[in-house]
Symmetry: C2
Subunit: 141 residues, 2 copies
DNA sequence: AACATTTTGCAACATAGTTGCAATAGTGTA
DNA sequence: TACACTATTGCAACTATGTTGCAAAATGTT
């Protein structure tokens, strides 16, 4: 894990710092998308709030994570797949929010469908967020 | 307009107050979705910030307006069509955000497509937000 | 190890949204 | 129209979230 994280940082030409390692670790540890507050909880008192904001912004810029829009307007972040590179995200998959456990997942294999736009409208990006019950909650209740 | 607004409030069994009239007016006046700040600008100094928050919440509860999730996580509100009733929204249409003029529109006639969920996931609500260039901006540039 | 460059922490600030409570305005009834 | 009852509003205070400038500390390079 430690090595995987260091490799990822090097590949993105970022210097290896404690906060970056810890924050990336939180994403690999949890398998769902994380809110800023989740990360703050995970890293504990080790790092300043501001550092987390800046680190997340850096990761987004470098294509390591992407943001997810949610209906309740909380900012969520999730790891990008390897195909993402700096400034060129490929996160055209559907995001799923579980109403039960409240976790958010990337449905990597569910591609956002195209829709037919009215005359005059030109689409450049499409976000799709589905909410409901996730597979884990469905299996255990 | 005044009468249309009063009728709408009565139909929702809400008392007719100055702030409710003024805030509804802002939605009928502008044809796009509005952020809290837009409404604050529109009503000026007439009403307290808190009143606007509470009024918007009331309108959402009564099915007069609905919220729109946006990729940059600003809360937007737009008028519901008549088919919406209290606690039972039918806003299953696509929302469009113009990257040029920054306005958000309800594409009432573009229905959110269904997508095939992975095994174990049950979808209950789908939000779709498209960004690009709107018909007005495409026509004038 | 020494230096230049990044990154971090702190303080201060800005914006967004919430809550309790007293004052005010709106509604139905006589 | 006046009254009383209820709903709504404004104020103050508070929490949460996010940003910026600058000095101190850590990182990468030689």
């Amino acid at each position: 894990m430690e090595q995987k994280i260091i490799d990822l940082l090097k590949r993105s030409s970022l210097s290896i710092t404690d906060s970056r390692k810890k924050i990336l670790e939180s994403f690999f540890q949890e398998n769902s998308a994380l809110a800023h507050a989740d990360i703050e909880d995970y890293v504990g008192e080790d790092f300043d709030r501001v550092t987390i904001y800046r680190t997340l912004q850096t990761f987004v810029d470098k294509g390591i994570i992407h943001t997810i829009p949610t209906p309740d307007n909380a900012v969520l972040y999730a790891l990008c797949k390897d195909s993402c590179s700096a400034g060129h995200h490929h996160d055209n998959h559907v995001h799923f929010i579980c109403d039960n456990c409240n976790k958010t997942f990337c449905l990597e294999h569910v591609v956002v469908p195209t829709v037919h736009m009215p005359v005059g409208f030109a689409a450049s990006q499409i976000d799709m967020v589905v909410s409901g019950i996730c597979n884990y909650c469905n299996a255990t209740t």
